[in-house]
Symmetry: C2
Subunit: 517 residues, 2 copies
Amino acid sequence: MNGAHALIETLVAAGVDTCFMNPGTSEMHFVAALDDVPQMHSVLALFEGVATGTADGYARMANKPAAVLLHLGPGLGNGLANLHNARRGRVPVVNIIGDHATYHAKYDAPLQSDINSIAKGVSGWIKTSTDPDQVGRDAAEAVAAAYGRPGQVATLILPADVCWLDSTGPASPLPIPERSSVDPGRIGAIADILRSGDSAGILMGGDSVMEPGLVAASKVSAATGAKLIAETFPTRIERGEGVPAIDRLGYLAEFAQMQLSGLRHLILIETASPVSFFAYPDKASDLVPEDCEVHVLALPGEDSIAALNALVAELGASGESVTLPGASRPDLPSGELNSESFAAAIGALLPANAVVVDEGNTSGLFVAGMTAGVPRHDWLCLPGGAIGFGMPTATGAAIASPERRVLNLQADGSAMYTMQSLWTQARENLDVTTVILNNHSYAILNLELSRVGANPGPKALEMLDLNRPQLDFTAMAQGMGVSASRATSAEEFSDKLEEALNTPGPNLVEAVLPSVF
Amino acid sequence: MNGAHALIETLVAAGVDTCFMNPGTSEMHFVAALDDVPQMHSVLALFEGVATGTADGYARMANKPAAVLLHLGPGLGNGLANLHNARRGRVPVVNIIGDHATYHAKYDAPLQSDINSIAKGVSGWIKTSTDPDQVGRDAAEAVAAAYGRPGQVATLILPADVCWLDSTGPASPLPIPERSSVDPGRIGAIADILRSGDSAGILMGGDSVMEPGLVAASKVSAATGAKLIAETFPTRIERGEGVPAIDRLGYLAEFAQMQLSGLRHLILIETASPVSFFAYPDKASDLVPEDCEVHVLALPGEDSIAALNALVAELGASGESVTLPGASRPDLPSGELNSESFAAAIGALLPANAVVVDEGNTSGLFVAGMTAGVPRHDWLCLPGGAIGFGMPTATGAAIASPERRVLNLQADGSAMYTMQSLWTQARENLDVTTVILNNHSYAILNLELSRVGANPGPKALEMLDLNRPQLDFTAMAQGMGVSASRATSAEEFSDKLEEALNTPGPNLVEAVLPSVF
């Protein structure tokens, strides 16, 4: 058995049985070893950013990491933005970067580069494997490191000769790290604050925005009046009929500040203290009101559900009744296709148990409201802010959840970053419906241009305009083997969306929205 | 005037009047300042890898750097592979990375990352500009640093507040560094080696593979019998009717070793001593024959043309006659469309003064031979080996050379990395003809899989197969506003290529070649 075989067997034994890859020459022994380990499911991506984003989406839904296989420093660079997103979302990824053979590095061949320097910013754990007898152990360590807690990107740099040389064999899995418990003293202190009668908010992320956490937090809120807010871009949040509803903190600092205003205490659960996404002239970066104290109930990766349940007990709130959204759907819309009618169609048609991957950006304004009472579903956001996450994340979510329909709400500008994902969706025959929100613009940047106080002229506006030429996403999708259609009215969009959501396999509906220009 | 305005004015004064960009919020003041400096030509790319590759192609043809504007660490990651290629090709690029405002960094907002760590591997020069009064001087330094000599990527990290705060104004250009002269003693020593009667080869790169260097080297060869070889992937090489012909060193180590075998001396001109692109089990990394001595006539960036002319003088070879290829074209091909008939069509139809951007990979095997006697043209290769360079490099070459037809020979797998380039070609109405060599495979990896000694099974082969589903490049190009057609026979390809080469603006011909599978 060679090193590659030992590595893959170790991964599979540790439960990492899916690998998203865009390999090159230095990874050919890894690829050849796939046939030695039939349990490993290998999925080809046509671009590295697709592979890394797919691993992100997979792990969010599978609750375990996938492996990624990339080719040298440039391949890592191509995959870096979605690794950044995984890092910010605290998503576990086993990130394997093929490298030149150990003895070849000194020749400074054309593809030689400092992989460690590129990888370290996104990696909570990083190691170069240099011995085929140890590559199994290194892989087992990488899997345990990816689990974190919280989850993180674990990068294993894998020289080609470590793959091709004989190995003593695979390593046994290491224990998956447990979540740390929250100290009871901390829970008591938070209970005291909540009992004080001061105005308090609870900002929630991580595991706490799935149903059990939302139910417990709702009891806390019912007993104490604390205001519940989810972080701006949760990695995965559960919502819909029967799940306690929670507003998300606004992306725009002005809105977030309104949501937080008047609070004397802000209690954090698996999330960071709120700051502005970007800096703006004469605006605050720190969004916490001046006279508001910030407290931590659970750090990211700590057992926030247990902490919330303990807090419920401490407050004697277990009997509090929780208001749950009843079933409700908006009517099917008619007339102009715009952000509002588009959202109504989503609300009217979203199937039960769907997974929504939301890179709708400005066009998604009305979607949350229109889907509050639709059947239960998961919603995946963009915690890291690096655009181009939607299509690959939807791809990975579908691989992890073959029994569920994935709906990808996808802004046009962001779609152009990793659209090669559609090909993988076709190849793997995944139940993904992509809705392209085509407003022919980087609309978010038009907004940001005015928010930063810049005074744009025609040359500036030209840099935000996707109208010349217009992008035809229907043609592009068909070119990658995904059936696609275009809608220009609300009725047409509803019809095409309904058909798409009920047709097995991947498909795409291009929603032509009013141009920003 | 704010810092952004001062920066752009400084760039323009230093001759950097073209900027390829994919900006975000942190770059909005830069974008707004474009209207203050009408001399700056700003070109939008839909993906950062397009922006960086376009800057590479531009600089190769313009002989001066363009600027690139990218958005934070993830944007840099997306552009990193083509910056790697620029670094390896010694191409000057002024690489501007927008960052959060200086005071915002400490808040660790979602898009915060260590830009310096990602950038340093590709950057010969790197600086963070922290003062709007100094940003002009920093920009002037970046331009001078990009020129090198040799050329390099100069990275300027630009916090948002440095753009939006008031500035004392632009800085004057710094002198463009001169090429260093080669020491006459070195020329004398090389002349002695060449006179010795020992078998010698001259391996040429950089400026030396343009006509003046090729003419001088041919005289040296005529006088001494030295064998001339160009490096494997020259950044830019001049060839065709009337230009001394020179073979390139083979990509495959086995072929390169045959070309070098028997040499007692290998003289390097602006290139590195030849090494294998990748390591292979039981094969040499260093391709220089065991008993061959390596000498340097000119280091990269040194004045190799003057050195070659001095060598000609030293050898008394100025009167030597040089054999120049006469005009010759292959006949238009007929029958099956394959690597050979495809190459014949290129040879039959390549217009005078064309620029060929070659990412044809395995499909390009016969092209060099078929184009040896066609009208004079430039040929741009992939010195860094990171695929996805062809389409953006063709885009940049066309912007730098609006009077010339650019022909991009583009392998299918590599095309999928940076295909968003087509949209920029349409938007800028560039005279680029893209020929997609669609063999439905990562064919090079099929070759490499056997070369590394791996024994592939069906799962491994599946990872190299682009057949399921087949990619329809004609549809994808049309989706980005580029007219496109498909050819499945040699006659059809010839007809469509001829029409494409004679139609202004961008277009694409998809050449359907026999599948590798």
